[in-house]
């Protein structure tokens, strides 16, 4: 598809200007997009008093590279990373599996109460967590999940978001494909595993990214459910740098940048799946 697009482009020589404008816009926007990172980087190398200096300075007076050492000494960052990784990986797996499974029923099957049930899923997204947080907390506590990583895993593994996203994507896959497969004698589970799932690779990649990023960066859930230091995840752990009367924003930014690395890696690794047109080959059939 990309090569095809390229061929089309060459047919119109006048497009060069348009392309230049496109690049200019993309580069301009990129600069603005990168600004927060530059700010994080510059802040992470400053002293705490310098971070919110006004007028703002982009380059630190002296570069405090030792901030990056300090963050590991001041708080058990390794523990936080391990906990976050456990939760993020577990949630992502459970989420992908359970949502892609449930979405198949919503998108490709017909059964009693389907639309009502689906609306219930969507409707819960609309309720702010702040409202049902306390009842949920009481319940979790009774189940003995309070202050365990399990609390976060079971909370986030069954989100309506994933089901909705996968359903929308499945709906875009022609029904001819699964009808044909059924006629060929595949069971519903077979259709899901052999036909739909491979075609949904771009959506799964997107869902993995969203789930991983959201779990990794989640703050409120761990704040409420985790108490002991050895159970904390990175976003809550970072708050230890914010104290009542002082905030070590330089250390927060250093630790935040470090904590972004795994997320960035996941994105870079997965983005090829929703780019290289895996789906198109299937739809031709």
């Amino acid at each position: 598809m990309t090569t095809w697009a390229q061929r089309r482009k060459r047919a119109y020589p006048g497009k060069a200007i348009g392309k230049a404008a496109l690049y200019a816009a993309l580069i301009g926007l990129s600069c603005v997009a990168l600004l927060p990172f530059l700010w994080m980087l510059s802040s992470s190398l400053k002293l705490d008093n310098e971070v919110f200096q006004y007028p703002m300075r982009w380059t630190p007076k002296t570069f405090h590279w030792d901030n990056y050492l300090l963050i590991w000494q001041r708080v058990p960052l390794t523990t936080y990373f391990r906990n976050t990784a456990i939760v993020a990986v577990a949630v992502t797996f459970a989420q992908i599996l359970s949502s892609s499974f449930a979405a198949y029923a919503f998108a490709k099957m017909r059964f009693k109460g389907r639309d009502a049930l689906f609306m219930a899923y969507i409707a819960t997204i609309a309720v702010p967590w702040q409202v049902y947080m306390v009842p949920q907390f009481i319940m979790m506590r009774r189940m003995g999940l309070y202050d365990t990583l399990w609390a976060l895993i079971v909370l986030q593994s069954f989100s309506a978001f994933g089901v909705f996203l996968m359903r929308q994507f499945y709906l875009g896959i022609p029904n001819d494909l699964n009808e044909a497969a059924r006629i060929d004698g595949l069971s519903e589970y077979g259709v899901w595993a052999r036909i739909i799932l491979p075609l949904a690779a771009p959506a799964i990649a997107a869902l993995v990214i969203f789930t991983f990023v959201n779990t990794w960066n989640d703050y409120m859930g761990p704040l409420i459910y985790l108490t002991k230091d050895q159970n904390k995840t990175i976003q809550v752990g970072l708050r230890r740098f914010i104290q009542q009367y002082t905030s070590d924003y330089h250390l927060i930014m250093a630790a935040s940048l470090v904590s972004l690395l795994p997320v960035g890696a996941v994105f870079l690794f997965l983005q090829r799946y929703f780019i290289e047109g895996i789906a198109t080959t299937g739809i031709k059939g």
Binding site: F52, Y54, P55, I242, Q243, Q244, Y245
Partner: protein
């Protein structure tokens, strides 16, 4: 196979029982607070208390300062059984008491004959709406005026004094202002973006409160602050707010002559001085006063602790609570540079001996204020009124409303809140 399982099971059970059997003699008091790892006095309390009370052990649960109230509120709603709860926001004591989360202390106080007068009124904010004492303060930060001695020396201006009116203060701030932005600018004073830093001085007369629904008394202080802003003597509120500049950073930068701030700033200044990060000498005096108010009147915000209703070791919890809030605790706290709620001349002497504390007489004298009033009185609508005044404060300070309009709006909204 079965036998192995049985042996294993027995081993596991023994392993579980062993520590339990050992721990039986000691009662462990679980204490919930914030910033424990970074605040030295928690550890000092623990050591001193455990030494004085054999058989009692203290175990802290360290929570983040940010969102502390929300986190603890949720824990308590879920039936948490921790013994002692530190209280960060004043409103938490009233709220938690109304919810039945924290236990009234009156019986304990009566039984122990604890002298409530020693708190000089700072314990009053922990009386709930039914008149029960539900928490005790261990630390009381009242507001003082910090100043940069080096800037006053350089300008050849006399230091601020313990008896200064607000008008004199404004004059002084303007006098100390010089230079051009970005080159050699010196600001005469600095207001943080909080409402309390700009206008709470109105309660220092002991008559006005912020909960009476009548805010005309704030106009004087709003006009004073906005006038200083116009004169370039303080940084502009919208810039401070938009840039997120912290008052600590502003004062530490060394180009701010005066800073009205809570006593907690002392802890930072002391530690900066001792670590060599401080680039100038500082001192502090009592906050200025209005003509008709005695010098040395200020307002304060105590920090306290309470006992969880669901605690299974209430007596032990009370021992710990009365220890930190009482005289022994005050003596433990004073050397750290923080101000105990329990204070007398002896304690003040200990405080002034702390390394890094300003050595002049005026600073030492400012340690014992004439009168300390509560930032907020106790009342049913206080949280609503607090939110409302904070909101209107931003409108006045960004000049979206004039002082008169803003205060009129405060009065109208307060009337609605109080009528409900």
């Amino acid at each position: 196979m079965r036998r192995i399982m049985a042996v294993l099971l027995a081993a596991v059970m023994l392993a579980c029982l062993a520590p339990a059997a050992l721990a039986e003699e000691d009662v462990t008091i679980t204490v919930v607070a914030w910033d424990i790892a970074t605040t030295p006095y928690y550890q000092m309390y623990k050591e001193a208390f455990e030494a004085a009370n054999p058989g009692l052990k203290v175990e802290y649960i360290d929570l983040a300062a940010q969102d502390y109230s929300q986190k603890v509120g949720t824990m308590l709603a879920g039936g948490d059984k921790s013994d002692v709860l530190f209280i960060k926001e004043l409103s938490d004591a009233t709220n938690w008491s109304a919810q039945g989360y924290i236990a009234p202390l009156d019986d304990y106080i009566a039984a122990d004959g604890l002298d409530m007068g020693a708190f000089a009124g700072m314990a009053d904010c922990y009386v709930d709406l039914e008149g029960n004492q539900v928490a005790l303060p261990y630390r009381a930060d009242y507001w003082v005026l910090f100043y940069n001695k080096d800037l006053f020396d350089a300008a050849g201006v006399d230091y601020p004094t313990n008896d200064m009116t607000w008008d004199q203060y404004a004059e002084l701030a303007k006098q100390m202002t010089s230079g051009t932005e970005g080159v050699d600018k010196v600001y005469g004073s600095h207001y943080h973006t909080w409402r309390s830093d700009v206008v709470n001085w109105a309660v220092c007369d002991g008559v006005n409160t912020l909960a009476d629904g009548e805010y005309g008394d704030l106009a004087y202080f709003y006009n004073l602050a906005l006038d200083l802003e116009d004169a370039g003597a303080v940084m502009a509120y919208p810039d401070l707010k938009a840039s997120g500049l912290h008052y600590r950073g502003a004062f530490a930068a060394g180009n701010v002559a005066m800073l009205p701030m809570g006593y907690w700033e002392m802890g930072n200044l002391v530690s900066d001085t001792n670590s060599g990060d401080m680039s100038f000498n500082y001192g502090f005096v009592a906050v200025p006063h209005k003509e008709d108010v005695p010098a040395g009147s200020t307002f304060g915000s105590p920090t306290g602790a309470s006992i969880n209703t669901a605690s299974e070791n209430k007596d032990a919890a009370w021992k710990f609570l009365s220890y930190i809030a009482g005289e022994e605790g005050a003596k433990t706290l004073a050397p750290t540079g923080n101000r105990p709620a329990f204070i007398n001349d002896a304690v003040a002497e200990v405080m002034a001996l702390v390394d890094g504390f300003p050595t002049d007489e005026a600073s030492k004298a400012a340690l014992i204020p004439t009168a300390v009033y509560l930032e907020w009185p106790i009342g049913e609508k206080v949280t609503e009124l607090k939110t409302m005044t904070d909101e209107e404060h931003t409108l006045i300070m960004t000049r979206e409303l004039t002082v008169e309009e803003g205060i009129a709006e405060m009065n109208e909204r307060a009337a609605e809140i109080l009528a409900d």
